[in-house]
Amino acid sequence: MIQINQLQKSYSGTTVLDIENLQVPKGESFGLVGNNGAGKTTLFRLLLDLLLADRGTVSIKGIAIAGDESWKHFTGAYLDQGFLIDFLRPEEFFTFTGEIKGMSSDEIQLFLSGMEDFFNGEVLGKKKLIRNFSMGNQQKIGIAAAFMGHPELIVLDEPFNSLDPSTQIRLKHLIKKKKESKEITFLISSHDLSHISEVCDRVVILEEGKVVHDLHAGSDTLASLESYFAV
């Protein structure tokens, strides 16, 4: 699904990302962990063609992302608040996003009613602009929007952040349910080691922009992660 070759990005002389080769097969849920400044967000931005790589290529489904835009039709992403249009109401935002992704209004309604549980009644019908929601609810809106359409790839940067405990669990359920069919490839970063080892088939540790560990799912993923990050 994703192929990364010789990808390099540096800011004023400091290399922040340097990945020789990384492949994510279709249907895999891929976790990314690393301390602050390890390059997680940079990798995601490069992947979404929001940054220009100094060197190397990223391709999604065999499409080189730079210069081609067709990958956008099957990719959903939520990295930060830059992915929200804060002066819209949630319903308006979902309609806008859904229509861009080619959904009919019935499909959008269906999607939203399927998300009711995840929203926990705190998002829809509130007659509030997105900017007036709390951080956690904004996060919910952004994550939900990433699931719209029929994405084959979903990129979430620290999705568990600022979510309340119940919603964290709901999000884990949601991801697990979606990945059962092996139709969606997930790319998720997190600082929460137990969440990430729970939902991901594979966890990669980034340090100073380099892949230092590539752990495939197993009962000991969490233990290895914890021992790696132990101080």
Binding site: R45, L48, D49, L50, L51, L52, E69, K72, H73, T75, A77, L79, D80, Q81, G82, F83, L84, I85, D86, F87, L88, R89, E92, T95, F96, T97, E99, I100, K101, G102, K127, K128, L129, N132
Partner: protein
């Protein structure tokens, strides 16, 4: 001392703000401009004070001045009502600290009393006090007179703060205020009840018993106490948070959504303009731009056959659109990452912005057709300039906007807010205005002023015909600069 520390923090905040530092050149130019304006105001005020009687052809300058003063204060009240606000957010970081509430409130109200308007009033009052009141009524009366009116200004300041804090600032209230003032003006104009002369008369009476002026300081103190009590009771965070009542400001613009992707994008842009503080205040100011025609067309100074009228035509039909188009992409800076990673095509976005820009120009044109009252040639000029604006200005500004990599922060009001504005934004206006003026002047010099108008309109039509090609150019430019723009927009401020 707490007060001085808070003021020092304030000063640091101003000086260290990236807006200030990055736009130093612009700030200096603007500062110089304001200094100039200020000095001019002082000079005019002094001159008027010296020769009030001659200037207004009146034998009793003081009584006449009092009449003017009524209108001055009324105008100031309205102006303050719209512009003035309490800088309440500033005290947020201090609220949880062990600082006495009353100190914070005093600071807040103190900050709220410092504004440009106070200076304006002083400039207006002081020369007249010195040159007209003093020689007639003596030192004591003059001092009381000055103190009285300065206090009245301060009382207005606090009354407005109180009103604005108590009534939600929504369109309804604004409408009611405007209606009330309009009603008063009408009653006055139709001479049903000339309250202005009654008030002016009482000012005159006050001068005969000057201690009566002490009523105004008393009023100011009362208004201050009123605010103090109000804040003391309700100084909690939510009192200062923007209320979300204005959320329902714009309907869903469903009809626009029905006309496909383009309509959807236009409706989003309209919502952006109306639901963000900064853009909304710009939109509310735009009728003023249309009124500029009164200066250009009604006055003889801008002689009928000078290039100024072309400037006026371009400005009046284009100024509202200019504000929108120059920053068309920067307005969306906050969610640029969303747009870039969505399946939207750049061309769709550009076309939507062009359509909205064009619509704004056409509406401006239609609203300003009454200027035909000043002569049919004005309608011709406006028509030519509208065509020029649609064909040339719209894509020109959008193309220029692709070079903008500073995002616009929309949550702050627009007055005196130069965040995201660079000197280049002013410079780019020069060729856009100069080009049609020079074209017109050339034709006029050759003896065919109407040919000049036709040429201006014709250029607009030619550019309109080339629009497809121009859109492609803008899209290519956006794609080429995509990463630079995205990076720039991610830097808030």
């Amino acid at each position: 001392m707490l007060l001085t520390k808070l003021i020092a923090h304030q000063w640091k905040q101003q000086r260290r703000s990236p807006i200030w530092q990055k736009n130093l050149a612009v700030n200096i130019i603007i500062g110089f401009f304001f200094l100039l304006l200020f000095l001019e105001a002082v000079a005019v005020s002094v001159l008027l004070a010296l020769k009030w009687g001659e200037a207004f052809n009146t034998t009793d300058p003081i009584a006449h001045y009092h009449g003017v003063l009524v209108w001055y204060f009324l105008g100031l009240f309205v102006f303050r009502f719209f512009i003035q606000k309490l800088p309440a957010v500033e005290i947020r970081p201090y609220q949880h600290l062990p600082i006495q509430k009353k100190n914070l409130i005093n600071y807040l109200l103190f900050r709220g009393s410092i504004s440009f308007f106070n200076l304006l009033t002083l400039v207006f009052l002081l020369p007249f006090a010195l040159f007209q009141i003093l020689p007639v009524h003596g030192t004591v009366a003059t001092t009381l007179w000055l103190l009285g009116f300065l206090s009245l200004d301060m009382a207005f300041n606090y009354i407005i703060i109180y009103l604005k804090k108590n009534l939600a600032t929504n369109f309804k209230m604004v409408a009611v205020t405007v209606a009330a003032v309009a009603l008063l003006a009408m009653v006055e104009y139709l001479k049903w009840f000339q309250f202005s002369s009654v008030i002016a008369q009482s000012f005159n009476t006050f001068l005969t018993a000057p201690f009566l002026f002490l009523f105004f300081p008393l009023l100011a103190v009362l208004a201050y106490r009123l605010n103090f009590a109000f804040f003391k009771k309700g100084m909690y965070l939510e009192a200062f948070q923007s209320n979300s009542k204005d959320d329902s400001l714009v309907g869903n613009l469903q009809y626009l959504n029905k006309i496909g992707r383009l309509g959807q994008l236009i409706s989003m842009d309209i919502k952006l303009q109306l639901r963000n503080k900064r853009t909304r205040s710009m939109v509310m100011m735009s009728p003023l731009f249309l009124l500029y025609g009164l200066i250009f067309y009604a006055s003889d100074d801008y002689a009928k056959d000078s290039g100024w009228l072309i400037f006026a035509g371009v400005f009046i039909t284009g100024s509202v659109a200019i504000n929108y188009l120059q920053y068309a992409f920067a307005y969306e800076g906050a969610f640029n990452d969303y747009l870039q990673s969505s399946a939207l095509k750049m061309g769709e976005i550009v076309r939507a912005k062009m359509a909205l820009g064009t619509a704004v120009i056409v509406v401006s044109y239609l609203l300003t057709t009454p200027y035909v009252f000043f002569g049919t040639e004005i309608l011709l000029i406006n028509t030519a300039c509208m065509l020029f604006n649609i064909g040339f200005l719209v894509p020109g500004l959008l193309f220029f906007a692709t070079y903008n990599k500073k995002t616009m922060v929309l949550s702050k009001g627009s007055s005196f807010n130069y965040q995201g504005v660079g000197a280049t934004h002013f410079l780019v206006m020069l060729p856009i205005f100069l080009f049609p003026i020079m074209l017109y002047m050339t034709f006029k010099w050759l003896g065919h002023p109407n040919g000049g108008l036709m040429a201006i309109g014709f250029i607009g039509l030619v550019a309109l015909a080339l629009r497809k090609w121009i859109i492609q150019m803008i899209v290519d430019n956006l794609k080429e600069k995509k990463y630079i723009i995205a990076d720039g927009f991610r830097q808030r401020y």
